[in-house]
């Protein structure tokens, strides 16, 4: 005290000695009391603390001279009021004080009261204080407010009075109290020193100012406001460096919003209590009994609801109007994994999953601030590590007058639903992945493209870091594709594997997938490449085509990954890849076969073309030969026959009997030769499909008579009767007269030739559309075994030494073809030794038929 007095005197002296200086500067007398760290006298007797340092910085900027006046709290205030000091730091604003003092506008600090306790006391929330001893500064505002708070929640506490905050902390530290209350600046600053720690119980927020006596020193307040307004928005300003010196926070911790709500609600509670007291007083004279009855009913109702809430499978909670939780039911605790006492206040937030906490807090504060219903889905992270998804909703609860008195809400465990949703989502994404892969690997049939799109799609849909695709060639596994390039670069090399080597080789040999979360710990992984490249988990998926393993896909991740969980998905992917690869391989094989086949076809075609050219050439030669034959063989015959005829006519002079006989022989032989040549030409044309027939009307009767005339000499020569029976209806038909005559001449000549006695008879009759010509003879007949050879070319029956008939053996074959060309047919019946019947059937009008060619 002496030191202080001396200090004051010194100051006074100084002001007297340097009057000019005193006039230029503003002398400010400042009260100093003990409230570390905000304001206090340090061990050297120097004023110190947050408010002092800040004031000195303002004074330096404003050019004030500060004079410190140490005093006790109440004495200080009185000195301020009386004008003995000019400025009092660290004064909490209240209405009562506002009447006595003047405050500046911008608060220096926001401060609130906080409960501190030793860790072993197990005090974290308000409910933990029930029945406990709490050390509190005697006669302080926080003492009153704390008492009200506990009463409001219905908790009983024993207050242990302390003369100072230091003493309060000593009491809590020494075990005389379970907890201590202090402003958070003091408490946070000193709690560690006393072995205490913060709890979540905050209350009584206040704003701290510098104060002056009413109506005086307005300039000081104005200057303080100006400086604060200038410094507070600027990080790193003198304001914040000061804070940094005296608090453990670089930035000032602001009052939690809910504290203000708490104050509001407590005030509201006081008002309500007051109103209730008045009401009660009024009604007491009226009907005390009714009131008591109503209360009993109310309690009954409350018990009923309590029972319901306790039994409900749905989590139920209530909060006050500011959103601070005041009640949770057992189901809520079961779902969240948090005991009820820890859930109260904002304690329940601790159970919320850290990822959801900021969002939920934002949503909840937003809803409660506006007093509207709140809906949120979020997760609880239970102490044992499990997660519970809940659907939370809360609706405002109002009193009879419609005022918000709190929230009542429920939480429903939707973990199962979320799991199902997640599963469906996963299933859908897997299906999409499969579909994508299927599309990609089936888009092309080029093996190279299939492999490359399989690798890139696998990487995409499995979220793995690197993928390989080996294709099997016997016992070798040859790398066909890998990716992505930047990951593959991490490998020194990706060598060819043998079946049975390392994970990939084993998967091929066993024909089943191999998974490992850690290749370093898995004995099956025998090769070092993946380990050196920094991968850890690995999946080897064999590519199965039916019973065959055609290759293997390797997928790797650098973190431990449980591929087994996705086994079904991965194996389905592998099956898709295998299908695509197999198709491409088959396609390549088919292409190869097709190319070979094409080459063979080309070769064969070339050969055939050559053969065809040769054949055509041969055919051309044959035709040319036939034409030449026709002309060249016939021309001399024309002369022979012609001149013989002329001679026989006697045009060149008279002939004797012998000459006539010999000339006739010449002519017959020449005629015969000509007939042979014509037969050969005919059969050649028939075989070449070149024989054409005419379809002209002619008189069949006349033609038959003409033929009979021609054959008669030969029959007479053999003494055979040549008879004919032509039905009366036989007349004009449409056909080829020459060819019909040729057929009849042939048949009649044959009949004469093979008949030694008896007769040859020609019968002709018609039926609708058709004409039938029949040549009967009484000759040797034809053996049954020879019947089928009858119409074949170059077949002369009775060949060999016994042969005694002239002819090429072509006649009947030609006749049969001609009859067919004319739309008819020839058949033969015969009885060996008795004779034969050849029957020719022809259409009456061959022009109604399509032109026919023999083939």
């Amino acid at each position: 005290m002496k030191t202080l007095l001396r200090l004051c005197l010194l100051c006074l002296l100084a002001s007297l000695l340097w009057p000019s200086e005193a006039a230029a500067t503003r002398l400010v007398r400042v009260g100093v009391y003990q409230n570390e760290p905000k304001i206090f006298m340090d061990e050297n007797g120097q004023p110190a603390g947050l408010f002092i340092e800040l004031l000195e910085k303002i004074a330096a900027a404003e050019g004030w001279t500060l004079e410190y006046v140490p005093c006790e709290w109440e004495a200080c205030l009185q000195a301020l009021e009386s004008g003995q000091i000019d400025l009092m730091p660290d004064v909490a604003y209240s209405e009562e004080r506002d009447r006595r003092f003047d405050f500046h506008q911008t608060p220096v600090l926001e401060s609130w009261s906080r409960v501190y306790a030793a860790p072993q006391a197990g005090i974290t929330g308000l409910r933990d204080l029930d029945g406990k001893r709490v050390a509190v500064l005697e006669g302080s505002i926080q003492e009153q407010v704390f008492q009200q708070l506990m009463d409001g929640f219905g908790y009983r506490v024993t207050l242990v009075p302390a003369a100072s905050l230091t003493e309060a902390f000593e009491l809590a530290s020494g075990g005389q109290a379970d907890a201590a209350i202090a402003n958070h600046l003091f408490g946070d600053y000193f709690c560690a020193r006393y072995g205490l720690q913060k709890t979540t119980i905050d209350f009584n927020p206040v704003e701290l100012f510098y104060a002056t006596a009413q109506g005086r020193n307005a300039d000081l307040l104005e200057a303080i406001d100006r400086r604060l307004n200038e410094w507070i928005p600027v990080p790193g300003s003198p304001y914040y460096t000061t804070l940094g010196h005296w608090t453990d926070l670089a930035l000032q911790e602001r009052v939690p919003a809910y504290l203000w709500w708490l104050v509001g609600s407590l005030l509201g509670l006081l008002v309500l209590t007051l109103l209730a007291a008045i009401l009660f007083r009024r009604q007491r004279s009226g009907s005390l009994r009714e009131l008591l009855q109503a209360r009993a009913a109310l309690r009954q109702s409350e018990r009923r609801y309590e029972t319901l809430a306790n039994m409900s499978p749905v989590g139920i909670f209530r909060t006050d109007s500011s959103g601070v939780t005041t009640y949770v039911n057992p189901a809520w605790c079961a779902i969240s994994g948090l005991p009820a006492e820890k859930a109260l206040g904002y304690g329940w937030m601790d159970a919320v999953h850290p990822e959801d906490r900021p969002r939920l807090r934002r949503e909840w504060e937003d809803s409660t601030r506006r007093g509207v219903p709140a809906f949120s889905d979020y997760r609880f992270l239970r102490p044992e590590g499990t997660t519970a998804w809940v659907m939370g909703q809360a609706v405002p609860e109002t009193d009879a007058a419609g005022n918000l008195i709190g929230y009542i809400g429920t939480i429903t465990d939707i973990t199962e639903r979320k799991r199902t949703e997640d599963e469906i989502r996963r299933y859908v994404s897997e299906l999409e992945a499969l579909n994508t892969l299927g599309e990609n690997v089936n888009r092309s049939v080029s093996l190279e493209e299939v492999v490359s799109s399989a690798v890139s799609t696998l990487l995409e849909v499995t979220g793995t870091e690197v993928a390989f695709l080996f294709l099997r060639q016997g016992e070798r596994l040859i790398l066909a594709g890998s990716g992505p390039a930047e990951q593959v670069r991490r490998f020194e090399s990706i060598p060819e594997h043998k079946v049975g080597e390392c994970m990939c080789g084993l998967a091929v040999r066993e024909g089943r997938p191999m998974y490992t979360p850690d290749i370093f710990a898995d004995a099956r992984c025998t090769w070092e490449e993946c380990k050196k490249a920094g991968y850890r988990s690995f999946a080897a998926l064999p590519l199965l085509a039916g019973q065959d393993v055609i290759g293997v896909v390797g997928l790797a991740c650098s973190e431990e990954r449980d591929f087994e969980q996705q086994a079904e998905f991965l194996e389905t992917l592998a099956a898709q890849v295998a299908g695509g690869v197999r198709n491409a391989q088959l396609y390549a094989e088919i292409q190869r076969y097709a190319a070979e086949l094409e080459q063979k076809v080309a070769e064969r075609t070339r050969d055939l073309n050559l053969a065809l050219e040769k054949a055509q050439e041969a055919d051309r030669l044959k035709s040319a030969f036939l034409a030449t034959m026709s002309h060249e063989l016939r021309t001399p015959l024309n002369s022979i026959i012609g001149f013989t005829g002329v001679l026989l006519q006697g045009l060149a002079g008279p002939l004797n009997a012998e000459q006539t006989k010999q000339l006739n022989m010449i002519r017959d032989s020449a005629q015969h030769l000509l007939a042979l040549i014509n037969d050969v030409l005919d059969i050649s044309k028939i075989e070449a499909g070149q024989l054409e027939v005419r379809r002209d009307p002619f008189d069949l009767r006349a033609a038959i008579e003409n033929v009979l005339r021609m054959v008669t000499p030969a029959a007479q020569k053999k003494g055979l009767a040549l008879t004919a029976a032509i039905a009366s209806g036989v007349g004009t038909i449409v056909s080829d007269q020459r060819r019909v005559e040729q057929i009849l001449i042939n048949l009649l000549t044959n009949a004469v030739k093979f008949t030694e006695r008896g007769e040859v008879r020609l019968e002709c009759e018609t039926r609708p559309g058709w004409v039938t010509l029949r040549v009967r003879d009484t000759g040797s007949g034809i053996r049954p075994e020879n019947m089928e050879k009858l119409f074949r070319p170059f077949q002369q029956l009775e060949t060999g030494l016994a042969r005694h008939h002239e002819g090429t053996g072509l006649g009947l074959a030609i006749c049969k073809h001609l009859a067919s060309l004319l739309g008819g047919d020839i058949t033969a019946e015969s009885e060996w030794g008795k004779g034969s019947v050849f029957t020719v059937t022809l259409p009456l009008d061959a022009s109604r038929l399509e032109p026919t060619f023999t083939s």
């Binding site: 026709s630 021309t635 024309n638 012609g642 001149f643 030409l681």
Partner: protein
């Protein structure tokens, strides 16, 4: 008495036809190919032309068409003489402008009648 132009490259055939016709009192002018035949036909205006179809160089069809295209020879009857061989020959022969045809080998017994049948009435009557 008729004047008949025979266009025929084969000497034997030519001789045979000429012999028969001359024996029956007709006058025959021979031509060994188509060109000569056309020239002589135009020059001599015969009563009838016997035309071999298988001629060297210009064949009988061409000769017939040519003769039909000339004012002087257009009206002279032409009889084709051909081997029986190809179907469609008759149509081609008639289409080329011939009045008829006689097949080889010629039959001396019917040849003269076949020729005379195509002669204009005045010539055959003579």
């Amino acid at each position: 008495m008729a004047h008949i132009l025979i266009i025929e490259d084969n000497e034997n055939n030519l001789y045979l036809s000429t012999f028969i016709l001359e024996k029956h009192g007709h006058r025959v002018t021979p031509a060994r190919d188509g060109a000569e035949g056309i020239r002589l036909a135009e020059e001599l205006r015969p009563d009838l032309i016997l035309l071999d179809i298988q001629l060297p160089g210009m064949d009988g069809y061409a000769v017939a068409a040519n003769l039909r295209g000339r004012d002087i020879t257009a009206a002279i009857p032409i009889i084709a003489v051909t081997s029986y061989a190809m179907a469609g020959d008759r149509e081609r022969i008639l289409a080329a402008g011939c009045q008829g045809y006689i097949e080889k080998p010629i039959n001396p017994e019917t040849f003269l009648d076949q020729v005379l049948a195509h002669l204009p009435t005045d010539a055959s009557a003579a």
